[in-house]
């Protein structure tokens, strides 16, 4: 029979636009006034121009207008909600791994729920709930982790048995399930109608919407948006918002000043069927079967089912291509594995009749997180795009955060994980994006395990020592395109291959990292840390010092040769960056920041440093190789190589000196290690890197030197309670909240950014406190390992989440770092967190639903560590970054 069908079907080619589908999805449109073509001419100017009339553009317009901005024009090249938004499957799901994504989805859900009442537009909102299925124990662990997060946020959520799944959904085959997660408040909407509803509300608030108007480019003067050119004329504006979805990349590159928006489209398929004989109830829960790579929702009595295949089809690599758009056809052969998964999950659907296979391009980003925020190069140019096929779940929340960002200068939540500035030009190669999204799309369904590394787009930025380290067994991870060593596999030892090493439990490198840590403690190790962002700021007069004193919280007017740890704070006193600054001379400074700060920190300083030709800032990241010499014998190795006295008397802690190492001159040696261990950072001009490395390794032999990687560094810094920007610290954390008051000089004699907020905190106390937790009854070999994002309970009540964790080989315990808050038991209001509050509690950490007792500490265990040098004390209270 199948053969007959082949003949039957192959005679008839699919027409590009099925009129039936168009009528179906657009039936609502005629009822909406905003959707009618506007013959009205464009205004000459506006405060904000939003490009893109999908869910993102309409949501931004909606929220901006709600926040009081009225002078807004929204431009859509075709018709409203006609792109990816129209084809969106309409599932609003809060089951997200990252806390900020979870908050966006939760807000979206609540927004959509009342949208019909607010606007009168039927959004098709239906609270169906969703069930995420687990076919394996590992998947169930992953779901339990999400469930823990949802519960502490007040979103109802439950881990259920396969039997309960069968009770909630009549069609599911449960025999291969080990469990599931049920989120009863998840919903379904018609995404096009949600978008139209948002547009309707926005236009009532005064937003002008123009369809069939395409933006050709954005005008920029002196690094600021001044207007847009469209096919229907010019509009002058102060703000431009790029919500162009899969065309955002191209639009970003169409202006005079390029804005890099790294995203790439992939084809995405889902299936629509005719109704069942007994039509499915419209409140039937949505099924997500990540192990089968599919989702299934009820749709007009039948089902809608799509998924994320292992072999995605990227498209539009060379930009917008009319041919490709027209050729977007159903590809049944490509869909076959997903169809098999569907029929395996719901065998009774065999007899159900197919209506259509929809091919709808979705845009994906290099790290599976969406892109929002202001361009680092063009002020007033905002972006919201790259939703990784979760546009409808994020739409409401993302639009709100971006609107807050534009109106208030920053959103009400930490959105660094989604910030456009986490990317630079280095992620903008089309080849890179094409390869990376082919890896990212299948990841939507893959197990999210700790310490996962992307496999594509690698070996882009490397240290000059890369080959040397690789030959010695280095295993690599990547940060901001830079290859960094995780650990070194000793010769003769084999690790599991990548897929098998995915675990929520003790990883196979445990002993390897343990021996690296031991060597750092007892002898000396070398870690290549070249990926650090390095800037040089200098001036002809005092301009550099004056500007930096204003932009940084610590006192930088220190003697030449001193290194200062300091925060780069925002007005609220929160950390925009956390860095070390060495004073090279009276008028020049060498600044070291975390790897992924390269774009953000540059933009932050660029926008705030005075426009003065006598003051220069240069990114010298690529000019220096950084070697970290950690351990008690580091001093011996360095003395033998330099002939310069580097005993503590001559080379105290937090000191920087240019000296020669081996034959190479001009090496910047700093007495810091970012771990609390004794040792030195060597900043080596790259052409000397190999020489210095060889000298260090040769000389170090008699002191037992060996290579080490970032996993060892991580374990060292966490057991010493060192916070790390981007992981523990963010724009919503002040130095007062993480025990770093000593890095703030409130009385340094001049005003600095964030000073007022810090003064207020100093007087009134803080509302969260960075705390260290030692897990007590946790069995490293048998229990699930903490990662980050685990809820913290004090006396049985939720008080915050962990931000990082590591196994301490010294304490032989797991250490978690995290923030503790104090919620009023009755009102839930946030109260001041005092030292007593922290110290007088019984703590538990929730790892995938299982709670472990933990001991809270506000200060590191200095007594546990050997005191070889006085400087330890100073560095202990220092800081660390990765």
């Amino acid at each position: 029979a199948a053969g007959m069908f082949l003949r039957l079907l192959s005679d008839v080619r699919w027409r590009a636009a099925n009129p039936k589908w168009r009528r179906m999805t657009c039936s609502q449109r005629s009822t909406s006034s905003t959707a009618e073509p506007h013959p009205v001419s464009l205004p000459a100017q506006a405060q904000v121009v939003i490009c893109g009339g999908g869910i993102m553009g309409t949501s931004v317009a909606y929220h901006l207008s709600k926040m009081g901005w009225k002078d807004i024009v929204l431009l859509e090249q075709g018709r409203l909600a006609a792109g990816t938004t129209r084809f969106c499957a309409g599932i609003v799901s809060t089951a997200r791994h990252i806390s900020i994504e979870l908050k966006m989805a939760d807000y979206s859900n609540k927004l959509y729920q009342q949208l019909e009442q607010e606007t009168g537009v039927n959004t098709g909102y239906m609270k169906t709930g969703s069930i995420s299925l687990a076919q394996t124990q590992d998947r169930l662990i992953s779901l339990k982790r999400i469930a823990s997060s949802l519960n502490v946020m007040g979103i109802p959520c439950e881990i259920i048995t396969p039997k309960q799944v069968a009770q909630l959904h009549p069609l599911i085959n449960i025999h291969d399930l080990v469990g599931a997660m049920y989120v009863p408040e998840d919903a379904l909407v018609s995404s096009a109608n949600v978008s139209l509803a948002l547009a309707t509300a926005a236009s009532r608030n005064g937003v002008q919407i123009h369809e069939r108007t395409s933006v050709s480019h954005v005008s920029v003067q002196k690094g600021r948006v001044t207007g847009v050119e469209t096919d229907r004329g010019q509009i002058q504006c102060q703000y431009f918002v790029n919500c162009a979805g899969q065309w955002a990349y191209e639009l970003g590159h169409s202006g005079e000043e390029s804005v890099n928006i790294p995203l790439h489209a992939c084809e995405h398929f889902y299936l629509l069927t005719h109704p069942l004989k007994e039509p499915l109830a419209s409140n039937l829960p949505t099924i997500v079967d990540p192990d089968g790579r599919i989702y299934i929702r009820n749709w007009q009595g039948g089902i809608l089912s799509g998924g994320f295949e292992k072999n995605p089809k990227p498209l539009f690599t060379e930009g917008r291509n009319q041919l490709e758009i027209q050729n977007l056809q159903e590809d049944w052969d490509h869909f076959e594995p997903l169809l098999s998964a569907l029929l395996r999950r719901m065998p009774d659907l065999e007899a159900l009749q197919i209506m259509q296979l929809v091919n709808c391009p979705e845009s994906f980003t290099p790290d599976m997180r969406c892109i929002m925020g202001e361009s680092p190069t063009v002020q007033g140019y905002f972006v919201l795009a790259g939703m990784n096929s979760a546009g409808i779940s994020y739409g409401g929340g993302a639009g709100k955060y971006l609107a807050e960002w534009m109106v208030n200068g920053y959103p009400s939540e930490n959105v660094w994980p989604l910030d456009l500035k986490r990317f630079g030009t280095l992620q903008s190669s089309r080849t890179f994006l094409r390869h990376r999204v082919m890896e990212v799309m299948p990841l939507m369904c893959d197990l999210k395990v700790p310490r996962w590394d992307f496999q594509t787009g690698r070996q882009l930025r490397t240290s000059p020592l890369y080959d040397r380290l690789d030959a010695q067994g280095a295993r690599w991870m990547e940060k901001h395109g830079f290859e960094r060593v995780k650990y070194f596999v000793p010769p003769g030892k084999d690790l599991l291959d990548l897929d098998q090493s995915k675990t929520f439990y003790k990883p196979d490198w445990f002993d390897i990292v343990g021996s690296e840590v031991k060597c750092c403690k007892e002898a000396v190790c070398v870690i290549d840390m070249s990926s650090f962002t390095k800037f040089e700021i200098s001036s002809t007069g005092d301009q550099a010092l004056e500007s930096l004193q204003y932009l940084f919280s610590n006192d930088l007017d220190v003697p030449v040769g001193h290194v200062v740890h300091t925060g780069m704070l925002n007005e609220k006193g929160g950390y925009e960056n956390d860095c070390s600054i060495a004073r090279l001379s009276k008028r020049s400074f060498f600044m070291i920041s975390p790897t992924d700060q390269q774009v953000h920190c540059w933009a932050w300083l660029k926008n705030r440093l005075p426009d003065d030709s006598n003051l220069t800032m240069e990114d010298v990241t690529w000019k220096y190789t950084a070697l970290n010499l950690i351990g008690p014998r580091a001093v011996d190795v360095l003395s033998e190589l330099s002939y310069a006295p580097i005993t503590p008397e001559h080379f105290p802690s937090l000191f920087c000196k240019e000296m020669s190492v081996g034959y190479a001159n001009g090496i910047r040696v700093m007495s810091i290690t970012h771990t609390g261990e004794p040792g030195f950072m060597l900043y080596i001009p790259i052409e000397y890197a190999l020489h210095v490395y060889n000298e260090v390794m040769n000389m170090g032999q008699k002191y037992g030197i060996r290579n080490a990687g970032y996993y060892a560094l991580r374990s060292l810094r966490i057991e010493k309670f060192f916070a790390f920007w981007g992981q523990d610290l963010d724009a919503f954390t002040t130095p007062m909240e993480c025990g770093r008051e000593f890095q703030v000089k409130l009385e340094k004699g001049m005003e600095f950014v964030g000073q007022e907020a810090l003064l207020e905190q100093k007087q009134n106390g803080v509302y969260k406190r960075f705390t260290m937790f030692i897990l007590e009854d946790h069995d490293t070999d048998m229990d699930l390992w903490p990662w980050w994002g685990e809820p913290i309970f004090r006396n049985g009540r939720y008080v915050g989440k962990t931000t990082s964790s590591a196994y301490s080989y010294t304490l032989e315990r797991h250490v978690c770092l995290g923030f503790v808050q104090h919620f009023d038991e009755k009102t839930g209001e946030e109260l001041v967190v005092t030292t007593d509050f922290i110290n007088q509690g019984e703590y538990e950490i929730d790892i995938a639903g299982q709670r472990f007792q933990a001991k809270a500490k506000l200060y590191p265990f200095s007594s546990l560590f050997t005191h070889r040098r006085r400087k330890d004390e100073v560095e202990l209270s220092g800081y660390q970054r990765e």
Partner: protein
């Protein structure tokens, strides 16, 4: 009882062989990229043979398939010997002299052929001396005949075919003191074999065909589709010219008895063949040789049997029909195969299957639901079947194997049906020949960069 897919594969792959022309400096300057060959027996033992060799003293490559009948002896002998006769026919006078001098003075011989053989393709050691002597006599005659003209390939092919058949006949008449060899040469002569041989030298492709095996050229059209061009004519009753030829060679009185039931003298399917001295020798000669021959020959009813209406022998010739073709860029491959393949598959399908296999593009019409009523289950069945079809392509590393899979396993929709394939391959020996013939295939892939 069904064979599992791995069992099916091990049967299909047992005789597969591939040869890639070696590259120099990363380039293959030959017009041939390489070839895949395979055979699937129906007779036990198989009566088909295949050969492939590179000419070392002249340029060019020789490939051939040989379909034996009344035993495999003749096909085996032809597969071992024919290419030597062709190579020698092609050799210039000086080289022939050099070889003769080397043999004369006991020096090492210039190698003439480099064989590309599957381990199962054997050469009979016992007869090598005899065969060599016959060959040497041939080249000695060529030396004596020295015409001074450059050798024409077509002529060389015709001469070689005729000479070998002649030698087969003579050896049987003369006999051999060694009783094993004596019986062997008789079996070779009394059995028969067709031959379809390709000689490729640069863009010059010659096909010499004797009998009903076939050579087919695979041509890729501008739109990417595949078409087939025949490069040989079958010598059988379906070929009017061939029937005409046979009738011309015999008196009008025999016209009615020459071709009966589409067979030569009502007995033989191919109208040209090696061996088959029963259709070539006079009755007297046949009787004398059989009578003086070993007992085994005397006991054999077939050899003693004289064809009916046998008046004016010879009725059969080994002279080939030679077709010359200049290779064009669109000529992508050549298929040489015994009639076992052509009985089951149309040449157009052969061209498409091999073409798609070699280019790695499996043009499957995309499926569209359109306005038809299709259920998820039906679609699923269809898709898994399509995927199986693609995976069957990928599980073959050899174009000839792939073709055999289709020849044996194809269902009415032109797709490989595993059940059918499994049934056909598990037939007991005595039944197999009723459902299919021996199949031998060589697929030669041409080098478009050179042509």
């Amino acid at each position: 009882f069904y064979l599992t897919p791995p069992q099916v594969n091990s049967i299909l792959k047992a005789n597969e062989y591939s040869f890639k022309v070696p590259e120099f400096d990363g380039k293959n300057v030959s017009s041939v990229l390489g070839f895949d060959s395979n055979q699937l027996p129906a007779n036990a033992p198989i009566e088909d043979r295949r050969s492939a060799a590179t000419c070392l003293q002249t340029r060019g490559m020789l490939l051939g398939v040989f379909d034996g009948h009344a035993g495999c002896a003749c096909a085996q002998a032809v597969s071992e010997r024919l290419f030597y006769y062709i190579a020698v026919s092609l050799l210039p006078h000086e080289t022939l002299l050099e070889i003769e001098n080397a043999v004369e003075s006991g020096r090492a011989l210039l190698p003439i052929l480099q064989w590309h053989k599957h381990p199962n393709d054997y050469f009979s050691k016992e007869a090598s001396k005899l065969y060599f002597n016959s060959l040497r006599t041939y080249w000695q005659e060529l030396i004596d005949l020295n015409s001074g003209e450059t050798t024409d390939v077509k002529e060389a092919l015709i001469n070689a075919f005729k000479r070998l058949d002649n030698d087969i006949s003579l050896e049987a008449q003369v006999g051999d003191p060694n009783s094993f060899l004596n019986y062997l040469v008789l079996r070779v002569a009394f059995s028969g074999a067709t031959a379809c041989v390709a000689h490729v030298d640069g863009v010059d492709l010659h096909i010499a065909n004797t009998g009903d095996s076939r050579a087919m050229l695979g041509v890729q059209e501008e739109d990417g589709s595949w078409s087939a061009v025949n490069l040989s004519y079958d010598h059988n009753a379906q070929n009017e010219h061939e029937v005409e030829r046979v009738k011309m060679e015999h008196p009008k009185s025999e016209e009615k008895s020459l071709v009966k039931q589409d067979r030569l003298l009502g007995l033989l399917m191919p109208f040209r063949a090696f061996g088959d001295v029963k259709f070539k020798w006079s009755i007297e000669l046949q009787k004398r040789v059989v009578e003086s021959g070993p007992d085994q020959l005397n006991d054999n009813e077939y050899t003693k049997f004289i064809p009916p209406n046998y008046h004016t022998p010879p009725y059969l010739t080994a002279e080939p029909e030679v077709i010359h073709h200049k290779l064009r860029p669109q000529d992508k491959f050549l298929v040489l195969a015994t009639d076992g393949l052509w009985e089951t598959m149309h040449r157009q399908d052969v061209a498409r299957i091999v073409g798609e296999y070699l280019t790695g593009v499996h043009h499957q019409q995309p499926i569209a639901v359109g306005g038809y009523k299709v259920t998820l289950g039906q679609m699923h069945g269809l898709l898994t079947e399509r995927r199986a079809r693609i995976s069957s392509v990928f599980e073959d590393q050899n174009a000839a194997t792939h073709l055999i899979r289709h020849a044996v396993g194809n269902n009415e929709f032109g797709t490989v049906d595993h059940e059918r394939l499994s049934k056909m391959l598990s037939l007991p020996e005595e039944l197999a020949r009723m459902y299919r013939d021996d199949i031998t295939i060589i697929v030669v892939q041409f080098n478009s960069h050179v042509i």
